[in-house]
Structure formats: C-alpha cells, structure tokens
Amino acid sequence: MTLLDFARGPAIDAALIVFVFGIAWRLTWLLFLPHSVDFSPPRPRAPGRIAGAAKGFIRHMWPASAYAGRTMFGVINSYVFHIGLAIVVLGFAEHVLFIRDLTGFTWATLPTGIITVVAVVTLAALVVQLMRRLFDPVLKLISTAGDYWAWFVTTLPVATGIATVSHLWLRYEDLLAIHILSVCLFLISFPFGKLMHAFIVFITRSQTGITYSRRGAEI
C-alpha cells in the first residue's frame, strides 16, 4: 500500500468517522444541555428572539467603534483568511469532486490559477495571524496550546495544498497523499477544539443577541 493508497483509503475513512461522530456529539450535547430560565420580564420595545438573535449575530461581525482601533486589523485579517479558506475549499475543482462524492452536491468551480492566488493570500494571512498571536502582549497572554494547534491544523492543509498544485519539492502523488493526510488531521481535530467555532459561532452569538436584546442592552 502506497502512502497515497493509505491516505485515500483507511486514513480519510477514519478521519470522516471521527469528524462526523465528534460534530454530532458536540452539537447534540450543546443543544440538549439544561438552560437557565430567564425569569425577568423583557424590557420595553425588546425585539423578539429571532430578531434579537439576528441583530446580535450581525452586530458581532464587525468591531464596535470603541474597540476599532485595537482590533480592526485582526478582524480584517481574520476575514481575509476565512473568506480565502471558503473560496479554496468550495471553489477548487478537486475539492468539489471530494464533496460531490461525499454528499452528491456539486457546483461550478474556479480556475486553478485564481485558487492558487487566493490560497497564497490565505496562507499569508494565517502567518500574520500567528505573528499577532506571538507578539501582541494581550493575545499572547490569553492564547492556549489549543489556539496554536487550531492554527497549525488549519494552515497545514493550505500549505500542502499549494505545494501539491504547484508540484513543489516532491512528486505529485506524495504531495497529494501528504495533503490528504493533513486534511485528515484537520478533520480529526475539528470537533474537539477551537475549530468547532465554525458550527458553534452561530449558536453562541445568536444566544448572546437574544439575551442582550431581552435585557435592553444596546449592542
């Protein structure tokens, strides 16, 4: 069995099983946990739950003016690599083939050249994000090993993907195998650490919006 056979076979199968198990576990656990009941009456003119959730979610997509000076660069850089990741994952033909095999859904793809440019920009933004985490005193203080691990397993597939498409250093089949294995690492890590925010962010920010709106807080 070659490294590519292993990556396309047992490795990706095991990673998908762990990924699906972990996501299902974390989400059902979170949704069925006992909730504290807010006995206080809603404040006058407080919006409903859905409007409060939407307001809270949208409001938190951009920093408040009071914090803009400190956080704007980090927010914009985060948008760059998040949008970059979305374009690379959902726009590259090879990735869409993988998703089609998994789900049956398919859509139009982007040229390899555009994907390569976006991937390089994404990688650069990820490196900048790490630099901020390492050199900003506040960020450094609040960062845990989980943050660095999340950065590593996110950056590795981007870097190996660029190397694979560009045929850098190794033979294509080895690069492809390493890239798939790096994706396996990402999938296995995803449900059990900070990366889970990709799912939980919708729940937490919406719940914050509901709570704040009910209590009349201006957000």
């Binding site: 998908l16 699906v20 198990f21 040229p111 390899t112 294509y172």
Partner: protein
C-alpha cells in the same frame, strides 16, 4: 575520421550484412537519443557504440500474462521487432515467436544460458504465482518460480516487462487467488528493471533494451526501478489537455460538450497526475495517439496496484472506498452520546435543585 568498420558478431556487422547504411544507423541513433531525452550529440555516440556493440543475448520468458506485452513489442515501429531480433539482440528463447516447441524449445533456453553465462538478459512478462507451491502456472512440468530462479541464476540483468511482471498487475489485484508476486519479489540478487504498463509502450520496451545494448550498462532508474528516460515525467505534466486543467475546464461525461472540446478528463477519473510513462510523448502506433488523445482518461496502468485504486472512473480526490456505512453510524453514535451526556447534566441539575443546593 571515426572507425565504423564492423567486427564479427557486432550489431554493426549484422546491419552491414542487411545493407543498412551508416546514415540510417546515425538516424536511428538520433531517434534513440531523442527518445531518451539525451542531447542531440549523443545520437552519433549511440550510433557508433551500437555499431561496435555485441548483439545482446536475450531470453524472454512468459508467466501469468495475457501476451499483451509481447503483442505490444511486436508493434514497435522504431526499432521494429525485426530490427530488434535480427540486429540489436539475439533473441534466443521466446515461446510465442520461436519455431521450436516442447523439449526443443526448453533446450534452446538451456543452450543460450550455457553459451552466454553471466552475460544474457532475461526478459520476463507476467507475474509469478506462488500459492499452493506455484501450481497455477507451469511450463514443461516446472513451476514459474522454478523456471525464473533457474533462468536468472547466471543472467546479467532482468527486465520485467509489463505491470504484471513489474508490480503484480491483474493477477496480484485483490483478492489475488494465485498468490501472484512481481519478479522483484523473487529476484533479489540481480538488477531488475521494471518496464511497466498494461501493456508497456513498445518503443519503451525496445528503447530500454537498446539502451543496455548501446551503453553496456543499465539505465538510470526511478524509485520503482523504471528507466527514468522513459518514466521521468507524469502523463499529466506532458498532456496536451493540461492547459484545460489549469483553466478549470473539465469534461463531465465522455460525450458532453467539454469532451468534444477536448477538455481535461480529470473529473472522469484520469490518473494522469500520478502516472509516469511515455504515452503522452512517444504515443502509440508509431506516434499516432494515446488513450487521452483518443478521448479516454488515463487508467494509471504503469503504476503499482492500479487495479485496486478504487475504480478507473473515480476521480483522484475521491476516497478509494465507497462511503463506509460507519460514517452514518458515527453520526448516530455521536448524537446518542451527546444526548446521553446532556441528560446526565440535566439529571445532576435536577438532583441539585431538589436537594436545595446551588443550581449548576
């Protein structure tokens, strides 16, 4: 002025006897140099050394195979099979091509081995069955394992022709009922050159033999022991459809507009990116075409285990296995564990509330 005068028993003498001119030999040397990606000046050197080279004794044995490799070799255009047999080499044993049969044929093999001890090249096509003491393929009452070990004992080198001999091929594919193995699994004390392909490109078989005859040594080999002059580039890197891959233009079916426009066949399962061979450059039938040019995706036939890569029409990014049922089971199990964990938390909270303790 170089010395081109042929000596007895050399390729040059055989060529002179057949009226082949020095110019034709130079032309052939240039062709070989081009085929092996050598500098143009190498053509003259090849022609000169070919003229002086002794005709190489070759014993060609066939095991678990379909004769497709030999069929391919007999369609070699340059050098043609006639060139090969009458000029470049002395083909001392080949069951399908030789007139002799039965004991006379086996004697021809024994005689060639004795006469060229330590100097002959053994060409093997087909994998070697080893299960049940090798009974699944025998010749003259001997198993393939016995014949192989006996024949290669005094050989200079072994040339595994075709993917069956090189990597096991179809007989080696899961579930491999005959216990088939490649030649390299049994021959460990001699150089084994793999000329893989199902079948191999005829010019590549002939070119590899010509390389040994010309240079008197083995060609440089890649990690699968294949001659790098012929297996150095992937089909994908040399494919004329590569620009469509880079533009993201893919045929979605073999009869759609993309296919008619000659777009990339990657999405239809093309294994060109992981397949190393000369199909895209040397091509087939005298340089006429190759599978991708004919509208079909590359099967990856010159790579190990190509039968077991998940299917010829599954794209490379797809996992080789069909989605395991375990993925669905994992979702159900994960949800069950999540609900159970939340239920336990609710129970703890209820218990704490009833006991008058702080709500957690």
């Amino acid at each position: 002025m170089e010395d081109w005068s042929p000596e007895a028993g050399t390729v040059g003498e055989a060529l002179t006897r057949q009226g082949v001119s020095r110019r034709a030999l130079l032309k052939y040397g240039s062709y070989l140099a081009t085929l092996m990606a050598l500098p143009p000046t190498a053509g003259k050197a090849i022609a000169q050394s070919l003229a002086k080279a002794k005709r190489q004794s070759v014993i060609y044995i066939s095991f678990q195979e379909c004769t497709g490799c030999l069929e391919s070799l007999t369609r070699s255009f340059s050098p043609s099979i006639e060139d090969m047999i009458f000029n470049l080499i002395s083909l001392d044993y080949q069951e399908t091509l030789q007139a002799a049969a039965g004991e006379a044929a086996e004697k021809a093999r024994q005689d060639a081995m004795a006469a060229n001890k330590g100097k002959y090249v053994v060409v093997v096509d087909g994998s070697v069955p080893t299960a049940d003491n090798g009974v699944y393929s025998t010749i003259g009452g001997k198993t393939n394992v016995e014949i192989l070990k006996e024949t290669v004992a005094d050989a200079m080198a072994v040339l595994s022709v075709g993917t069956c001999a090189s990597f096991g091929g179809l007989p080696y594919a899961n579930p491999n009922p005959t216990g088939a193995v490649p030649v390299s699994a049994l021959v460990t004390d001699k150089p084994v050159i793999n000329v893989s392909g199902c079948p191999p490109v005829p010019e590549v078989i002939a070119g590899t033999i010509a390389y040994i005859v010309t240079f008197g040594k083995l060609p440089p080999l890649d990690r699968h022991n294949r001659p790098t002059p012929f297996f150095g580039d992937s089909i994908h890197d040399r494919c004329y459809r590569r620009p469509f891959y880079d533009k993201g233009l893919f045929a979605k079916a073999f009869d759609d507009e993309g296919a008619r426009n000659g777009w990339c066949l990657y999405e239809l399962g093309c294994k060109g990116p992981i397949t190393y061979n000369s199909c895209a450059t040397v091509k087939w039938n005298g340089g006429t075409s190759y599978p991708i040019q004919s509208g079909h995706s590359c099967l990856g036939c010159s790579e190990p285990n190509f039968w077991d890569l998940g299917g010829f029409y599954r794209p490379l990014p797809d996992p080789t296995d069909k989605r395991p049922a375990a993925v669905g089971a994992a979702a159900v199990a994960g949800a069950a564990v999540g609900i159970a964990t939340a239920a336990a938390a609710r129970s703890r909270k209820r218990k704490a509330t009833h006991e008058g303790g702080p709500s957690k």
